[in-house]
């Protein structure tokens, strides 16, 4: 993959708006995020709406028979993916606070999130 050395650096944002486990999107977005780390791009992860549940502490999906992939969010730092943003309104609407989250994040207001998104070159949603 010679494109890894193309020298182009774009602002990528992975927008997560769906809860984990009920659909596959959270897991497969995470697989995309991990691959993106190999391309030296400016990677951002946004968690809003039900997407904030993807990084809720204490996920124990053994009882529903699916893999617990939530620890992977904590491993992202090791791939130099450190720009994680969570929308404050989405947390509040769901009765959650930053303390409920399993990774360090930057909490932004909805207005700030909109401005951040507006600066992206590539937005990937699922």
């Amino acid at each position: 993959m010679d494109d890894m050395e193309s020298g182009i650096v774009k602002k990528f944002m992975f927008v997560n708006r769906k809860a984990p486990h009920g659909t596959v999107y959270a897991l497969e977005v995470l697989e995309m995020v991990l691959i993106s780390a190999a391309f030296d791009q400016d990677v951002h992860l946004a968690f809003l709406d039900d997407g904030v549940l993807q990084i809720k502490k204490g996920q124990t999906p053994a009882g529903i028979g699916v893999k617990n992939f939530s620890p992977t969010y904590r491993a992202l730092e090791g791939y130099d993916i450190e720009k994680l943003y969570v929308e404050a309104e989405s947390l509040a609407e769901r009765g959650l606070t930053e303390d409920d989250l399993l990774v360090p994040v930057e909490v932004l207001s909805r207005a700030e999130m909109g401005k951040l998104m507006a600066g992206m070159d590539v937005v990937l949603t699922a």
Partner: protein, 119 residues
């Protein structure tokens, strides 16, 4: 202009693949290039050669193949998402190829725009 297109859903259950096809056709008709169409999540199911829709319905897989034939469009199926769902070389429709997720990121880097179709 170079467009990349991401298809998140399989054919028939959702309109996503049909919308993506119409978008691609309109883009090439206007003289743009489709740099790549990448199939991810259940989107990999667009690439099965085993589908046999009723003869009075459109055949989404065949429509993708025709787009690829007519305009040399690169149709790439994610290997990991495909393996998970049983889309492999053995049932891959001609015109599609299986490759890694890096092909999607690469498309995001090299295309001028990336447009996503999903549920």
């Amino acid at each position: 202009m170079k467009f990349a297109v991401l298809v998140n859903e399989g054919p028939y259950n959702h309109q996503a693949a049909d919308s993506a096809l119409q978008f691609c056709k309109a883009a090439v008709d206007k003289g743009h290039e489709i740099f790549r169409v990448f199939f991810y999540y259940d989107g990999v199911n667009n690439a099965t050669k085993l589908g046999e829709p009723p003869s009075d319905d459109r055949n989404v897989t065949r429509n993708w193949q025709k787009l690829a034939e007519d305009h040399k469009v690169d149709l790439v199926v994610c290997v990991a998402a495909g393996l998970r769902r049983g889309i492999t070389e053995s049932n891959l429709a001609p015109g599609f190829r299986i490759s890694g997720l890096g092909q999607l990121i690469e498309a995001g880097i090299h295309a001028d725009r990336l447009v996503t179709f999903g549920d």
